[in-house]
């Protein structure tokens, strides 16, 4: 029986784990694990005995994958990390995404430069997924400001959705054997012709597992000449997309989330495109309860002025309790909890290192 909430907080200086009873009144913090080394992705794998994974991306010594089998009390390095074949010519620069696959020890991993790896033994060995990693487009993708990264992996039976910045949204309908770009309606506002086959700067994609045909995307928006390309929705498994950004203060942002029990409820955190900080220096999460037709601002408890942080693409998550809480981490090292689905915000930790990713799970 699930009795506690775990948060994994990937930071510039290592991985932290925060734990609380289901009341979520107080969280105890432990870490940093992989101290001093940046962590851009984490996974709390609740299939069977929970396992926690974190990437540890050392600027000098390369990539490692950390694994914990005791709910984040200790971590050990897996036997190997993803690596390109020696004759490939590419070298791993970062690990951006760790996701659970079909079987208990099946893991998927999105990396920089954009490529996909898969492990069938809980991260002890990895194989390149050639259908996307060696796709004919792969050498044409361009890095965005954050690097050329494969940051989103969403699975739905034989469908696999990938988000690549800047590559766009790629879809496999054969379990990951082959991939095709699926970006109809996804704009690349930084190009003269924004509606291209691939090359969009997708920031994050989300969906509810019970409504897999509906996807939400936070794309790179903030282009006055191409309004509305930033927040999008698909109702046909990602084949076509339409704007749902009307009513938001900015269509630029990084994270996007779906409520754990309501596919119509979606959350974004709008940012000013020029500064990547919150509009008016007043942070707010915005929620739609009708699939993006309209939006409400959720800011009670958040600073009303003089806040100039960024919330990165994987730095916001939501737990699965009956009244779920949202969590977001900032580049200024604050971890916020939004109780009652984001209605009331409170700072849990205010002096962590810059936060790259936040993952929540009930275990």
């Amino acid at each position: 029986m699930a009795t506690r909430v775990l948060l994994c907080i990937g930071t510039k200086k290592g991985l932290f784990v925060a734990e609380s009873p289901k009341t979520r009144r107080r969280f105890a913090l432990r870490g940093p694990f992989g101290a001093g080394v940046g962590v851009y992705s984490a996974l709390i794998d609740t299939r069977g005995t929970p396992r926690i994974y974190g990437s540890s991306c050392h600027a000098y010594f390369g990539m490692k994958v950390l694994r914990s089998t005791d709910l984040g009390k200790t971590f050990r390095e897996t036997k190997s990390a993803p690596a390109f074949p020696k004759d490939d010519g590419r070298a791993l620069a970062n690990i951006w995404s760790l996701d659970a696959g079909k079987d208990k020890k099946d893991l998927w991993c999105g990396v920089e430069p954009a490529a996909l790896f898969r492990s069938r033994n809980g991260g002890d060995s990895w194989e390149l997924v050639p259908g996307i990693s060696n796709h004919e487009h792969a050498r044409k993708w361009q890095p965005g400001n954050g690097g050329l990264c494969l940051h989103t992996i969403l699975r739905d039976g034989n469908r696999v959705h990938l988000g690549i910045s800047t590559g766009g949204h790629y879809l496999s309908e054969d379990g990951g054997q082959t991939f095709a770009p699926a970006n109809k309606g996804v704009g690349a506002g930084f190009l003269p012709d924004p509606f291209i086959e691939f090359g969009q700067c997708v920031h994050k994609i989300a969906r509810h597992p019970d409504a897999p045909g509906r996807l939400y995307m936070q794309n790179h928006g903030g282009f006055p000449e191409h309004p509305g390309v930033g927040v999008l929705r698909s109702d046909d498994h990602g084949h076509t997309w339409r704007s749902i950004s009307k009513g938001l203060p900015s269509d630029f942002g990084f994270p996007i989330l779906v409520h754990p029990r309501d596919p119509d409820t979606v959350y974004v955190l709008p940012l000013e495109p020029a500064t990547r900080t919150c509009p008016g220096s007043a942070p707010a999460v915005w929620r739609s309860e009708n699939g993006g037709d309209s939006w409400q601002k959720l800011a009670q408890g958040l600073p009303k002025k003089e806040s100039y942080f960024t919330v990165l693409r994987d730095a916001m998550d939501i737990d699965e309790l009956s009244s779920p809480a949202l969590y977001f981490g900032t580049t200024t090292g604050q971890l916020w909890i939004g109780r009652d689905g984001g209605e009331r915000w409170e700072c849990l930790f205010d002096a962590l290192p810059p936060i790259h990713c936040v993952k929540a799970a009930v275990v």
């Binding site: 600027a59 000098y60 010594f61 190997s80 990390a81 690596a83 020696k86 490939d88 010519g89 590419r90």
Partner: protein, 105 residues
């Protein structure tokens, strides 16, 4: 069994050198601070490390086999770039030191 002279010759060809491991990488080789390896060049040291301690090798070289940008290899007191790079020959008793660049932030 090799004749005595042939054995001596092989020892000369594959000189035993000492590799100093920085503290941050000792977990990759069972906690050892020094390793004794047979090698006649710096490249051969890396090949031997890849065979014996693959995690250590991955920390020194990237996926393409190139020495990582912020990892420095010294032969005795000389940086490899001031000798002959990875083709720097090694003699018995030489010391190879692995040192990360200094960092801030």
């Amino acid at each position: 069994m090799l004749p005595r002279l042939a054995a001596v010759h092989l020892m000369t060809r594959a000189a035993t050198i000492t590799v100093h491991i920085p503290t941050t990488l000792r977990d990759c080789c069972g906690g050892a601070s020094k390793l004794a390896l047979p090698a006649t060049s710096l490249r051969a040291v890396l090949e031997e490390l890849e065979r014996r301690h693959p995690a250590l090798h991955r920390s020194i070289c990237d996926d393409t086999g190139t020495v990582r940008r912020h990892v420095n290899l010294f032969v005795n007191t000389d940086h490899m770039r001031d000798r002959n790079g990875l083709d720097t020959p090694l003699a018995p008793g030489d010391v190879v030191t692995i040192l990360p660049a200094v960092s801030g932030g």
